[in-house]
């Protein structure tokens, strides 16, 4: 009896059958083009800081700082390459690959690489996967808060060209248009071995004196900034986050 009842009710459900309606009636669609999620009061200005904030932020643009010449710089570069302190920024799924590196199987410490909890003290920024617009803002801020010389390692396909999210409204396709990237590691996901290989590659780059990302950023500051501002809509931070 009860089963019958259930069956009858089940039959009543208006589950859509057949092919979907391709051209819906425009009257029922609603005028979505007028929807404004963030009006002027709610949205922060993209142009920069408010007067009030300007008092609290320093926004001097970065300068190009010339390296020393000769052996001294080489020595410093050697030291930099042998003491890579990671700012592990778990922007995407790739951050999970950093953990095995710290533990006994891969043990990055033996290569002079260790994690560090604050951008101020780190020298290498690992972007762990896809960067959405929202995280891009944080990436830029953290990158700028690192002290030069500083290096960026893009992890996974998403940082290279958007990877499987290439057509997402929210995933940045090319990381190097927003911050200078020294090494990309392809893969979705790359294994920790690949990550280690990338780090070794970075070491050689630094030792050869090619790890001048910070200077590159300073040189092309306008371009980077314009790119960043194009996607980051509510730019409520100074132009350079010291």
């Amino acid at each position: 009896m009860e089963k019958d009842m259930e069956r009858r009710l089940y039959a009543d459900t208006g589950a859509p059958e057949g092919s979907p309606v391709v051209n819906p009636d425009p009257r029922t669609l609603g005028d979505s083009s007028n929807i404004q999620l963030f009006n002027e009061q709610l949205k922060l200005l993209n142009s920069g800081l408010t007067e009030e904030d300007r008092l609290n932020f320093c926004d001097t643009p970065p300068e190009v700082i010339k390296p020393f010449r000769g052996h001294w710089e080489n020595f410093l570069n050697w030291a930099r390459s042998e003491s890579l302190w990671i700012l592990g920024f778990g922007t995407g799924c790739g951050a999970i690959e950093l953990r095995p590196l710290m533990t006994s199987r891969f043990d990055m410490y033996q290569y002079g690489i260790q994690p560090r909890p604050t951008p101020r003290q780190s020298s290498i920024f690992v972007i762990g996967g896809y960067a959405s617009v929202k995280t891009m803002k944080r990436i830029v801020r953290s990158y700028e808060q690192m002290q030069g010389p500083k290096f960026v390692l893009g992890l996974g396909s998403c940082t290279i060209n958007g990877g499987m999210y290439y057509d997402s409204y929210n995933t940045v396709n090319r990381l190097d248009h927003y911050i200078p990237v020294d090494v990309y590691i392809a893969g979705c996901m790359p294994r920790p071995e690949a990550l280690l290989a990338g780090l070794m590659e970075l070491k050689t780059i630094i030792k050869e004196g090619r790890g001048e990302g910070a200077n590159k950023y300073a040189e092309n500051f306008e371009w980077y900034k314009a790119n960043q501002k194009r996607i980051i809509k509510d730019w409520n931070m100074p132009d350079y986050n010291w």
Binding site: P24, R27, K233
Partner: protein
């Protein structure tokens, strides 16, 4: 789902279209104006105390959004989905934050993603994910995300896109491809 309960709800709230997925999961439909009274009743009287999730399905073909409130009852060990259809051009819905404070967050998200308003929901206009988004909400189906991506982000040249099944047949397992 208990038939008596359904009958009760049918009488009191005009619930229709019971869809029993299995022992532990059913869906019902209700009119927009009866939705919040129904949910309140379910929470306070019928032991559906837990809001599992709250989401929207864009039924663009029908010209409406389907709001899906998923409730759970611990004592009945049962999930009950309440489907409420609202017109796409009239996107106001009563808020349920007074029943579950956590609903605030869902409503914030749904407003951002679909442009559905929940008047009086606290913090509705705070940023959820899209900080300073301009243009139509991205989860509406008329929004073309690929075009948006191409317009907004820099495409790296040289990208090739393959159909995974075909690619696997050709590249990875060519010998076995014949057998598929």
């Amino acid at each position: 789902m208990n038939i008596e309960l359904y009958k009760n709800l049918e009488n009191s709230f005009g619930v229709t279209s019971l869809e029993v997925k299995n022992r532990n999961q059913s869906y019902i439909r209700v009119k927009k104006e009866m939705a919040v009274p129904l949910i309140t009743h379910l929470k306070l009287v019928e032991s559906y105390k837990h809001l599992s999730f709250f989401t929207i399905i864009d039924q663009i073909e029908k010209g409406e959004f389907e709001l899906l409130y998923m409730l759970h009852s611990y004592s009945r060990n049962h999930d009950l989905g309440i489907i409420v259809s609202i017109e796409r051009h009239e996107t106001d819905m009563e808020s349920i934050h007074h029943l579950w404070p956590a609903a605030e967050t869902y409503q914030r998200e749904l407003r951002e993603m679909f442009g559905v308003e929940f008047p009086d929901s606290p913090g509705l206009y705070e940023n959820f994910c899209l900080e300073g988004w301009e243009g139509i909400p991205p989860m509406r189906r008329e929004f073309d995300t690929k075009r948006y991506s191409e317009d907004t982000f820099y495409k790296r040249p040289g990208r090739e896109t393959n159909d995974p099944a075909k690619y696997m047949k050709e590249k990875i397992y060519p010998s076995e491809a014949e057998t598929w």
